[in-house]
Amino acid sequence: MLSYIVRRILLMIPTLVVISALVFTLIELPPGDYFESYMAELEAQGESVDKTQIEYLKKEYGFDRHPVERYFVWVSGLLQGDLGYSFEHQMSVNKVVGNRLFFTMLVAFVTIIVTWLIAFPIGIYSATHQYSWGDHGLTFLGLLGLATPNFLLALLLMYLANVWFGISIGGLMDTKFVNEPMSWAKFVSILEHLWIPVLVIGTSGTAGMIRTLRANLLDELQKQYFVTARAKGLHPLRALVKYPLRMSLNFFISDIGKLLPTIVSGAEIVAIVLSLETTGPLLIRALQSQDMYLAGSFLMFLAFLTVIGVLISDIALAFLDPRIRLGGGRTK
């Protein structure tokens, strides 16, 4: 088991290296840099630009050096927990980001839990009552959630909450708590606001989860061991929970790997509509103004989050399924 985990973690390193190179290239690709767009902006406003200051800044942040060199500077900074410098906000990215990374993780984590809580019973019900009205209805509901663009759902819920309950649900907490340290009241306020983004983001992943669980459980239910278990008089619920459910749980857990990127990207868009204090709105702004370290570090963080998620799901899977941790079963 330990060797499996170690192997899996080692395998993560090249993945992260490739991702960081990809992210850096993407950020680097657009012509020009932040200083050029900044200068153009200042000139458009009729202000004079201090060329020497710009040159100094460029030199200070290594923009006169080769991109490859800058990549290594950036990566070694990342490794030491230094996310770089945001030109637009004129402070270090760590400060700009602040709590946002934490809130992004919070939203993603809660969403996964909620998605599971919804998808799990529905999936089991749909599989055990195949082609019943309940199955069709619930599957349809799940697909409807998948088919509705997240941002519109967010907008609609925001409006309805305003009309029905008279509350404003934008943001992740009450505005008076934004710059305050964590407290019980703040925590409650976050919980009050969290359900909308969680619900909205969760809708898209839930349908996929239900579908996977249903399909796998249906496959298992047709197998002979299940028929045998039923034939020898095992209680239906027990027969279901003990064997087929355990088998299909594997797919359920390995699905985190697929679910997490969906949730993270869904969260970005919903965050923009609902103006959540997560990375989404800041990322868009950073991309538009070519604030490259900010954007790059965000992207890197999001990718890191998903890679870690996949890692956790793989390890959990290895715990559950000895075939995976032993790496056997391969004939060729």
Partner: protein, 403 residues
């Protein structure tokens, strides 16, 4: 199994026994030899047992009612967007400055209890002096029957041929905004129909890109295995672990603003396809891994066929059906992706009209409260995505007809 032909006993057995010791009489049955005489199939059985694989799939697909209905719906949609200019009552770019943010006009059939045929009531416009908003109310004195197959606003069919023919148009001197107008006075219905052309085609083109990439990379990984497989697997893993929307945003942000709309459209399509091929490549790879062990592949190899011929000619046809099913299931995410990108202002831009571009108008909560009909473009998005999902499910079930 019943045999339709009775067994013909040789004559010799029916005649009285021969005298012992004499040689047997030479006997030849004159009936033509039929090797299937024992297990003769009835025409119905023959119909089923000898059906080709594609025919079996077709039968199985037809049993999935929802999938068939979705297929018909999608076919009509695609047919519709080919002639979108004709189906739209107005030119989608024409502005009707008298009618800004006008609500939808309902279609009525009866006026004062008598049958008139489909018609709409004209608007009365007044200005709300408190909110300074234009308020349109239907005036039941203004009966404006719709005209069918009529000459209406000019348009350029596919931007090439000029025309005036519409499926239906408003009454002369009247208006018919069945889904209302937007803030610039464009007819929403016409814009939704026109936007369908872009939104629906972007899904198809994107999937085409990802099928090509998926088959090429999945084919290499699955057929050659070894190092190539390892590298491609890692690439797929990396791409799949990246959250797609932030990535799309980053790439879309690369787009120079000066590019012409058509180029932007192509670029977005390729971007969508570029990150969706991983799923298809995985499917291709796992299928190829199983199929390459078959004897016919070995036979082809021994005859000296080159790898790309074996993959293309012998292996790919074996899982085309699976490929089509997976591709169908990939289209919805592209349509939704385009919507999301355009919504954030990083995808397509006006004057190109897609459902996502239309939805950018519905970006703030005031719109939802005051002009809810601007959110209508979401209806076709939901319907199309649902239909593709059902169709994909049906195809996937049908792809393995022997199950």
């Amino acid at each position: 199994m019943k045999s339709s032909q009775s067994y013909n006993a040789p004559n010799g057995l029916k005649t009285p026994a021969q005298k012992p010791g004499t040689p047997l009489e030479h006997y030849v049955n004159s009936a033509p030899f039929d090797p299937k005489s024992i297990e003769q199939l009835t025409p119905e059985q023959e119909h089923v047992f000898l059906a080709s694989q594609w025919r079996l799939m077709w039968w199985k697909f037809c049993r999935h009612r929802l999938a068939v209905a979705s297929a018909i719906f999608l076919a009509l949609m695609y047919l519709g967007v080919i002639f979108s200019e004709v189906f739209a009552p107005y030119n989608y770019q024409a502005r009707h400055i008298e009618y800004l943010n006008a609500p939808p006009q309902g279609i009525h059939l009866f006026h004062n209890g008598s049958f008139v045929g489909p018609f709409v009531y004209g608007y009365d416009m007044r200005k709300d002096m408190e909110t300074l908003r234009r308020v349109y109310t239907p005036n039941i004195q203004k009966v404006q029957p719709l005209r069918f197959f009529c000459l209406g606003e000019r348009y350029k069919f596919w931007g090439l041929v000029e025309g005036r023919l519409h499926l239906f148009c408003p009454a002369k001197g009247g208006e018919a905004f069945l889904l209302g107008t937007d803030r610039l006075g464009h007819d929403m219905l016409s814009r939704i129909i026109e936007g369908g052309r872009i939104s629906l085609s972007i899904g198809l083109l994107g999937v085409a890109v990802s099928i090509i990439l998926g088959v090429v990379f999945g084919g290499i990984a699955g057929y050659f295995g070894g190092i190539a497989d390892l590298i491609i697997q890692r690439i797929i893993e990396v791409l799949q672990s990246l959250p797609s929307i932030p990535l799309w945003l980053t790439i879309a942000a690369l787009l120079p603003i000066t590019w012409p709309p058509l180029l932007v459209y192509l670029f977005i399509t390729i971007v969508l396809g570029l990150f969706e091929w991983t799923g298809l490549a995985r499917a291709v790879r796992s299928k190829l891994l199983a199929l390459r062990e078959e004897d016919y592949v070995l036979a082809a190899q021994l005859m000296g066929a080159k790898p790309n011929r074996i993959i293309g000619r012998h292996l790919v046809p074996g899982f085309t059906s699976h490929l089509i099913a997976s591709a169908t299931l990939a289209i919805p995410s592209m349509i939704l992706g385009e919507t999301a990108l355009s919504f954030l202002g990083l995808g397509l831009r006006p004057p190109i009209t897609s459902w996502g571009v239309l939805l950018t108008e519905a970006q703030n909560i005031n719109i939802v409260a005051l002009y809810p009909w601007l959110m209508l473009p979401v209806v076709p998005v939901i319907l199309v995505v649902l239909a593709f999902n059902f169709l994909g499910d049906g195809l996937r079930d049908a792809a393995d007809p022997y199950k």
